[in-house]
């Protein structure tokens, strides 16, 4: 028997499978609300103007090259990435309480965080994920050997946060467990805690000395405001609400449109109350060791684009405008879809569409409704009912609203 002859073929990843079905669909009016990538009002990918300008500046600079970065990544990138997430005046940065490394976007940072915690964290190696959460989270941590548990988050009946369930899970989990939190623009629901809810959540986590991993994939993209979107992270760290270790996994895929360039960072804050230079050096050296045996060093080009933007005042200003452009267009589409559904008299309530934030809306549609949307109307959603609002535009939102109206009525009165 040849090696690998007995290997079983796996079905395609659901998200990539959805994209494949969409691409294979020959209907001219098909709508892609599946994969999470921004689209402009013509349904096209959008390279941010700040990115265009940064690339021109970068490629034309005399010292541009393709040399290896250090294992930790491009220092102008990691330093400015830390400032974006923690704030220009962050005490944690000033007091050197943070270790930052470039990663292969957010997924790479989550993987690194997992490997690092698995090897060096003394607490409970169970990681609590929100219910629901991003599909890849479970794979990332199970792959590394974590036990995966969940905490209540989305209440499907009320289409709102199950705060009491969430807080109960925090207090029930063994001390020193690992909790993965979406910093903003929760994927897939689009539902975020408000500030006072965040305060309660953070206080409960601190009481049990849990370890927090913040997954920050949408800063600036959620509301258009970088500071507002970093609220729970800054509250936890610089306000010292959390004194246990924190890891931030940061992605620039969405907010800078870097997607395939794979730009991200991992920031480890071993303690918010004390800086420890030798511990920080040890942590950095171990992260380097892990990175070295997995990929040697991270990709250069995307991190240089982002560093150029974050370190050039004009480009930074342009980027903030680009964030407003993207988030406001998505906000408009949320408003339009909701108002059209309400105008059509579609059964159920639809205010959750506008109360959610970020790229996604957890519509509340059932898997059967989603299947019918795809088959009968050429509208592609994830089976959980998650719709990428970025796929909506002025040219298709009416069609989508009518299609949703049709499938909801088709399956009769539901719990919508």
């Amino acid at each position: 028997m040849a090696p690998f002859a007995g290997i079983k073929e796996l079905p395609p990843d659901p998200l990539f499978g959805l994209k494949a079905r969409y691409n294979a669909d020959s209907r001219t009016n098909k709508v892609d609300l599946g994969i999470g990538a921004y689209r402009d009002n013509n349904g096209k990918p959008w390279i941010l103007p700040a990115v265009r300008q940064a690339e021109q500046k970068l490629i034309n600079s005399p010292d541009y090259n393709h040399e290896y970065l250090s294992i930790s990544g491009f220092a102008p990138f990691t330093e400015s990435a830390a400032k974006v997430i923690l704030g220009e005046n962050s005490l944690a940065i000033k007091d050197k309480k943070i270790v930052s490394q470039q990663s292969l976007s957010g997924t790479g940072a989550l993987h690194l965080a997992g490997v690092f915690i698995k090897e060096f964290y003394q607490g409970n190696h169970t990681i609590y994920l929100s219910q629901p959460t991003w599909a890849n989270h479970k794979q990332i941590f199970e792959y590394i050997g974590f036990k995966v548990a969940s905490y209540p988050y989305w209440n499907n009946d009320t289409k709102s946060l199950d705060l009491s369930g969430f807080l109960k899970a925090i207090s029930s989990a063994p001390d020193g467990s690992v909790f993965l939190l979406h910093a903003c623009a929760h994927n897939p629901t689009g539902l975020d805690p408000n500030q006072s809810q965040w305060d309660e959540i953070l206080a409960a986590l601190e009481k049990k000395k849990h370890f927090i991993i913040f997954d920050s994939a949408y800063q600036g993209f959620a509301s258009g405001d970088l500071e507002k979107d970093a609220y729970p992270i800054r509250k936890a760290i610089d306000s010292k609400v959390i004194t246990s270790p924190i890891i931030i996994c940061q992605s620039f895929a969405k907010n800078v449109g870097m997607y395939g360039e794979r730009v991200g960072a991992i920031h480890v804050i071993p303690s918010t109350v004390e800086s420890n230079d030798s511990l920080n050096r040890a942590i950095k050296s171990q992260l380097n060791r892990i990175i070295r045996s997995e990929l040697s060093n991270p990709p250069a080009y995307g991190s240089k684009i982002v560093a150029t933007i974050l370190n050039d005042p004009e480009l930074y200003s342009q980027w903030r405008k680009d964030l407003v452009t993207m988030s406001s267009r998505i906000g408009e589409m949320r408003n339009t879809l909701r108002s059209k559904l309400e105008s059509l008299g579609t059964p159920g309530t639809w205010n959750h569409i506008t109360e959610q934030t970020g790229m996604f809306s957890f519509t509340g549609l059932t898997p059967q409704m989603v299947e019918r949307l795809e088959k009968h109307h050429g509208i592609y959603l994830v089976s959980s009912g998650r719709a990428s609002v970025a796929g909506l535009n002025e040219h298709n939102v009416d069609q989508v609203a009518k299609a949703i109206d049709e499938v909801v009525r088709h399956f009769g009165k539901s719990k919508l």
Partner: protein, 437 residues
């Protein structure tokens, strides 16, 4: 029975004491985190950067430098980037295993170069080759090591002694068990071919065996065609799984087409089902100068097209939780260069040939200037690729560093690219001084 075991490091990592806070002693719930040893190769560059001697020479990192000691961008790559800048309309995620176009380019570049490799073409047409884009060569080694750890029947992996510094770490972290086989005899500065065959023959049946396709790192000594035939016969007899590391295609001869003799032998054996399956790690870091863009691939040759589909699906499942999908910039550059309408492929091949030509010129110049009265330097002319494995002792290398600001790894490996017209005299003189004992 001669068996080369990994030398167990007697150096224990020093543990740092984490200061305990009296009021919150459970606060830092870290296991003791030792300071990991610094990467040897990158450490050389850091020491070099900190040296203020204007005559300093960096022979540490294997990255190409021009005759002024500067990094270069291949002009064809520069043009490809300008084309990309002008036409790129998106930065979307590529597939978990990279774009179909990139996969096709790599398959043909390696297995059917210039459309003249009938055996490789057959394997491609039969769908027996799965190719995935990876994070350069290191990423491909890690992906295949994880894959073999999960799906191959044996965790033993035979690596040449010596081999690239990172191989052992990559394989160990993936859960494989590296074991050395004889390759190079340092006392003679030559291949230890007799013991190579002996140690492979003695190794456990069904092991994975790592083979450097060309330009062996760090020694620069490659097997001849006849020697490869004998080794591959042992591979068949012992039912080894060959894992080929090809980070330097084009750096042996200046022509990528000429450097894939081992691949041609393997594809022939695969078609004959004598070695039905093998894997190949490939990188564009050196031959296209894409170093930091991290552009590479893993190819797995399977027994059938059906097996390939299953293998590809498992590769995707393995990659997705680690980094989701690979970086696009370098692979897009590759795609532009291989796009006939860009006209850049012949230019790139010509530029690569010139780069390799400069390295060979430097080799010869250094050889000429070295004192041969007490030391045989003939091996410099036999070695190929980016490195010279000098045979200098760690003590001599340390003297070169301390007394002459010449930086190289302590195994005596020199990155020949760091040598140029401005420093070759100084370097030769320094070497001549330290070998005078």
């Amino acid at each position: 029975m001669y068996k080369t075991q990994l030398i167990k490091s007697s150096t224990q990592a020093r543990f740092l004491a984490v200061r305990q806070l009296s009021s919150t002693s459970q606060l830092l719930k870290w296991n003791d985190i030792p300071l990991a040893p610094p990467d040897k190769i990158l450490g050389i560059s850091e020491a070099y950067n900190n040296d203020s001697n204007p005559q300093k020479v960096n022979l540490g990192v294997g990255a190409y430098r021009d005759n002024s000691g500067k990094p270069i961008i291949f002009p064809s790559v520069k043009k490809a980037e300008e084309i990309l800048l002008g036409k790129e309309t998106e930065k979307e995620y590529t597939a978990i295993v990279g774009s179909k176009n990139f996969q096709s380019i790599v398959k043909n570049f390696i297995f059917n170069n210039s459309n003249k490799d009938a055996n490789g073409k057959q394997l491609i047409d039969d769908g027996r080759i799965v190719t995935a884009q990876t994070i350069s060569g290191t990423g491909s080694l890690r992906v295949i090591a994880d894959f073999l750890n999960r799906f191959y029947s044996n965790k033993k992996i035979l690596v040449p002694k010596p081999t690239w510094a990172n191989h052992v770490a990559v394989f160990k972290d993936a859960g494989l068990e590296p074991e050395f086989y004889s390759y190079y005899e340092t006392s003679k500065n030559d291949l230890d071919y007799a013991n190579l065959k002996k140690s492979l023959t003695a190794a456990p049946e069904g092991s994975i065996v790592l083979l450097h396709a060309c330009c062996h790192n760090p020694t620069g000594m490659d097997l001849t065609s006849e020697q490869w035939d004998e080794v591959l016969q042992i591979v068949q007899d012992k039912k080894f799984f060959p894992l080929v590391d090809m980070a330097y295609q084009g750096f042996a001869s200046g022509k990528p087409f000429e450097d894939i003799g081992l691949i041609r032998k393997l594809t022939k054996l695969a078609n004959e089902n004598k070695i039905p399956s093998f894997a190949l790690c490939q990188s564009f870091a050196k031959n296209m100068g894409l170093y930091g863009e991290r552009t590479g691939s893993i190819s797995i040759i399977n027994s059938s097209g059906e097996a390939s589909k299953a293998v590809e699906s498992q590769l995707k499942k393995l990659i997705r939780p680690i980094y989701s999908s690979p970086p696009i910039h370098g692979s897009k550059i590759v795609e532009v260069i291989f796009d006939e309408s860009s006209g850049l492929l012949p230019q790139w091949l010509d530029e690569l040939d010139k780069v390799v030509g400069r390295l060979n010129t430097v080799r010869s110049k250094l050889y000429e200037k070295l004192d041969k009265s007490n030391y045989n330097w003939d091996h410099l002319l036999k070695q190929r690729g980016m490195f010279v494995y000098t045979g200098l002792s760690p003590e001599q290398v340390i003297r070169l560093r301390n007394e002459y600001s010449v930086y190289a790894t302590e195994d005596g490996r020199f990155s020949i690219s760091g040598i140029n017209d401005n420093n070759v005299d100084y370097l030769a003189n320094a070497i001549n001084e330290v070998i005078k004992n």
